[in-house]
């Protein structure tokens, strides 16, 4: 792992520590009073703060997860080299694409 990947993973871990806590806290708070999916969507639609928060969350996860998975695969399998790196870049793109699509859908639905 290069030092920049290491820093990226540690930096995104710090972001995820906050965003995951807020995400879980929001879920617990939202369903506490028995909100329906429709009522939740009513609050998220057009809410720019919601979109920015989840965009940061998704991008941090898309950077963090493939770097960690690359290290795990290198330690536990014989997979090495450029194809592994390209696969992890593809996984990062997939996570970012699917995550941002979901956040945009909830924001603009």
């Amino acid at each position: 792992m290069s030092p920049l990947l290491y820093l990226a993973q540690r930096g995104t871990a710090a972001i995820l520590a906050v965003t995951v806590a807020v995400h879980l806290g929001t879920i617990l708070y939202a369903v506490r009073g028995g909100l329906t999916a429709g009522e939740i969507l009513g609050r998220t639609q057009g809410n720019l703060a919601f979109l920015v928060f989840y965009a940061v969350f998704v991008l941090a996860a898309a950077i963090h997860a493939p770097i960690g998975l690359r290290s795990i695969l290198r330690e536990w399998t014989r997979w090495r080299g450029r194809f592994l790196d390209l696969s992890m870049i593809a996984l990062s793109g997939l996570l970012a694409g699917l995550g941002l699509r979901a956040a945009l859908a909830v924001y603009g639905a």
């Binding site: 792992m1 030092p3 290491y6 820093l7 330690e75």
Partner: protein
Amino acid sequence: MTARVDHAAVGPGATGALRVRVRRGETVAEFVVPRRANQTVLDVVTEIQRDQDPTLAYRFACRVGMCGSCGMTVNGRPRWTCRTRVATVAPDGELLLEPLRNLPVVKDLAVDMEPFFEKWRRAHGFFEPGENPPDDFVAVAPDSPARQEVDAGIECIACGVCYAACDLVTWNPDYLGPAALNRAWTLVNDVRDRDRDGRLAAVAGDAGCHSCHSHMSCTEHCPKGLSPTFAIAGLKRETGKAALRRFWRRG
């Protein structure tokens, strides 16, 4: 292998008998050795080799914890055997002796240390004075933070105990290992050294300091009480700073 138990070995001066099992390749040989006051594990191996089985191979030199030659796995844990008392590690009188983990076995308890020292070279674990050595001595205050960083890791005797204790070396045979990285950290903090950038580049990457999981097995087992884990953490900081500097310059 058939157990070779020599009950006659328990002789005068002994306070009892030790049951010693020694891994010899794929087999385990059994011996009974007299238990004596203040006996070390190296004493036990030496007694077996001299009195019971002269074909037993092991390595030692100084017998006083300076040379780092006598590392072995004792009851599952890597240790320096010359300073390990039997009473501490085998209160029930049972010893299982095996070669150090993560290194090729030459014979019985002797391992080939070449891969270990090759990684010291790869980590630039040698002092680099530069093309033009300074005209005068470098004044280093003993209580300066940089000197204290060096002091924390400088007493390494290269026994390989930390290397044998490290799971990362087992999982990733290319990983430089705690001792080489600890040595690199002492040199990174050496104000006289002229290869700081080269050394930081050598210890970064998939085989370097960033692979460390901070399990702290090296720190737990180091017979000299050093903490390679903290040395590796220091290398992570310095390589990170160096990478950011390069990144900004390029940007």
